[in-house]
């Protein structure tokens, strides 16, 4: 496999794990715009443990998940008292606090960043992404997954059914933070270097977009959303110059034109985002869609699920 594709595959795997970290709270009805903060916690935990103590990756990466998960569960108690747009702002502010603290910490390299000695190839992120996907699919099929979706629909009625709603929300938020931290740990060892500028607000926005545009109703959503958004810039990198050349030929310019500016990819990404929000606000992948596909494939299995 070429270095280019290995790199893409690693980024894709990391983004899928990261997206699941945001999917879990969002599927429970909590918008989390602090993704970059949790990813930074994981990345720096792994980087520091690897650089300062020489710990191997099979220690540092789980450590990244544990630390981010523990901090996520801790802040979930105060932060989940807020609702709607205030929760979005609170999670966003949390990510800024993390970034500011790391920037001002000499131990963590400040603005210089940290080098990470232990390097991992694409196989480890991909294997982790597969395991995490299977875990989330399983989780959503359990009673806890059902409770998460109920809390998403109507907190008050979920509470009336006897569900401990706070426990559900804190668990989903904390598990999500752990997955975002896990993505951070993978990131640190894949790129061998962490700097806090790499975990800015745009990162938080993008990962939330993966989830919202992919769909929050089934565990397929984050995979599709993360894949779409990770691959789109790569596809556009190849096709945009061709498109520009074709357009130039159409208006009569025969000599080769300069490739379009990088920023056009962001414009196209933005337009697609607006279109998706307008025409498919529930996300690309919905439950109804998955059920239709399942029925087409094996009606007997779908029937068996019903009676189970």
């Amino acid at each position: 496999m070429s270095g280019y594709w290995a790199g893409i595959l690693s980024i894709l795997a990391i983004n899928i794990v990261f997206a699941y970290g945001i999917f879990l709270p969002v599927a429970t009805g909590q918008l989390n715009l602090g993704g970059a903060g949790f990813q930074a916690l994981g990345a720096y935990a792994a980087a520091y443990a690897s650089a300062s103590f020489g710990l191997p990756v099979y220690v540092t990466i789980p450590l990244a998940a544990l630390l981010a998960g523990a901090i996520g569960a801790l802040i979930a108690f105060p932060i989940l008292r807020t609702r709607g747009v205030y929760l979005v702002l609170a999670t966003f502010a949390f990510a800024e606090v993390v970034a500011g603290s790391i920037l001002n910490s000499e131990t963590l390299g400040g603005a210089m960043g940290l080098s990470v000695p232990a390097f991992i190839d694409w196989q480890i992120p991909v294997a982790v992404a597969v395991l995490v996907s299977l875990f989330v699919f399983y989780l959503m099929s359990t009673r806890f997954g059902l409770t998460m979706r109920a809390a998403h629909d109507d907190e008050v009625v979920t509470d009336l059914m006897g569900v401990n709603i706070r426990k559900t929300q804190v668990t989903a938020f904390g598990l999500g933070a752990a997955l975002a931290g896990l993505a951070g740990g993978l990131y640190a060892h894949t790129f061998s270097f962490v700097e806090i500028q790499g975990f800015n607000a745009v990162v938080s926005i993008y990962v939330l977009l993966y989830v919202l545009l992919g769909g929050t109703q089934t565990a397929w959503g984050p995979i599709v959303g993360a894949t779409f958004f990770t691959m789109l810039p790569e596809v556009l990198r190849e096709t945009l110059p061709t498109v520009k050349q074709t357009l130039a030929t159409l208006v009569g310019i025969t000599e080769p034109v300069a490739p379009p500016d990088e920023s056009w990819r962001l414009v196209i990404l933005g337009v697609l985002t607006v279109l998706m929000m307008a025409f498919r606000p529930e996300g690309l992948i919905t439950r109804t869609m998955m059920e239709r596909l399942q029925f087409r494939r094996s009606p007997s299995r779908a029937a068996a699920e019903v009676s189970a």
């Binding site: 109920a150 629909d153 008050v156 009336l160 109703q217």
Partner: protein, 247 residues
């Protein structure tokens, strides 16, 4: 006495929405709570189910003090609330909605009870794998009641179940309430449709501005036209615009 509520206070924000209300439901009884909009009926039910912790008073259910207990303890003891406005889980299927009703049950008979619900409501059985949001208003109310039934309640509290239903469905709904009662479930029915509620209930309470101002046999309340008109603004529910006279 199955439900024994004495001098209950429930706050809604800073205002006291329920003041010193005492009421009781005997085993196997249908009791109705009547009152105009804003009389505190919904706040009373929220206090009873524990969504809002009562500010004072006492709630005894079959002798157990549940005043400060969380909703889970009330559900486990056999109290189930069917909330106002058919609040179902719209992005979940009919079947998943019913499953949520069984959340507090640990026994293995849940699936058998679910089938019993489907037998009772064939419309729900047909749509069991559809999203609950596609159901009609009446079917959504059946689902909300079915969801409560899966929890095997001894007492069902219904908050304005006839609200927004077609007259045909309102008739079916009250038949269902009588059937459930015959099967041994006690019922606390909060309604604005005074006429229908007093027809099925054995006793009734009238709330005004958070206080219970009247308590009598349903028949006596039906005949007490002067009083019911004064407190409820006519006996025909919201459709007749009765609450205006009161306001």
């Amino acid at each position: 006495m199955l439900l024994d509520v004495s001098r209950l206070d429930v706050n809604y924000g800073r205002t006291r929405a329920v003041k010193q209300v005492s009421l009781s439901v005997r085993e196997g009884e249908i009791v109705t709570v009547l009152g105009a909009n804003g009389a505190g009926k919904t706040s009373l039910l929220r206090g009873l189910q524990g969504a809002v912790r009562p500010a004072g008073g006492k709630i005894l259910f079959d002798g157990t003090d549940l005043t400060q207990a969380p909703p889970s303890a009330r559900v486990r003891n056999g109290m189930m609330l069917v909330p106002e406005g058919r609040q179902i889980f719209v992005s979940m299927t009919v079947h998943e909605n019913l499953l949520m009703g069984s959340y507090m049950r640990a026994d293995a008979d849940v699936s058998r009870d679910m089938e019993a619900i489907y037998d009772r409501f064939p419309n729900l059985a047909e749509r069991r794998n559809m999203k609950a949001s596609v159901l009609s208003g009446g079917e959504q109310q059946m689902l909300a009641i079915g969801r409560a039934l899966v929890g095997r309640p001894r007492l069902i509290m219904l908050d304005e179940p006839s609200l927004g239903l077609s007259p045909l469905f309102v008739g079916k709904l009250f038949e269902l309430i009588l059937e459930l009662n015959k099967s041994g479930i006690s019922i606390l029915l909060v309604e604005q449709n005074t006429t229908m509620a007093l027809e099925v209930a054995s006793r009734g309470y009238v709330l005004e501005l958070g206080s219970a101002v009247l308590e009598d046999d349903a028949a006596a309340l039906s005949n007490n036209t002067a009083l019911t008109e004064a407190y409820l603004g006519g006996g025909h529910g919201p459709a007749a615009g009765g609450t205006h006279a009161h306001a």
